[in-house]
Symmetry: C2
Subunit: 108 residues, 2 copies
């Protein structure tokens, strides 16, 4: 299984989620897997690239067809519950950046 | 030292570099550090967020003020030499995506 998201698409968007977890990780892993699976079923989902390190710092970039798909995913009720839990319990710090991909290059 | 790049800036760009290294890593770490240092001195550089895993898969996102800063960095002669070496020797696969940040949220 590749760790790369599809590339060389025409216009699409990235949601760059960089995060630092805290010490309370109860329920975190199960929720993270669940959200990864749920995202894949959302309309406009194109792929994801994700890595975390042993300090709890992680970068997850999900790729979406358009802003409407991102908004729909952000407002999904299960995802909203996960977001609330992330904000209150799991993450000490996160940055979410929504960005429009304008150029792309690859080596495969 | 924070692993996060500055956020809540006005208009700016991300260069999303996802990569899979191969087995030949001769000179790689030294060059990677050198490029990180050199990037910081470039006009329009805003910050970087980077993680790699034990399989050699890595995500490095650098943030820049505008497309002109990114172009200037891409065309820097030392960086060009590093890019050529990366393409020929170190990376099996990479994706580079240049994206304009349109929305940002954070928890600190």
């Amino acid at each position: 299984m590749t760790k790369f998201a599809p590339a060389n698409l025409t216009s699409h968007y990235a949601v760059i989620f960089t995060s630092q977890r805290g010490d309370n990780l109860e329920g975190y892993e199960a929720m993270a897997s669940k959200m990864m699976e749920l995202a894949k079923q959302m309309p406009g989902y194109l792929g994801v690239e994700s890595i975390g390190d042993e300090s709890g710092f992680a970068i997850t970039i999900s790729y979406w067809q358009d802003l409407a798909s991102i908004k729909n995913w952000r407002e999904n009720s299960e995802h909203k519950a996960a977001q609330a839990k992330g904000k209150s319990d799991w993450y000490k710090h996160y940055e979410i950046r929504i960005a429009k991909i304008e150029q792309a290059y690859s080596k495969k």
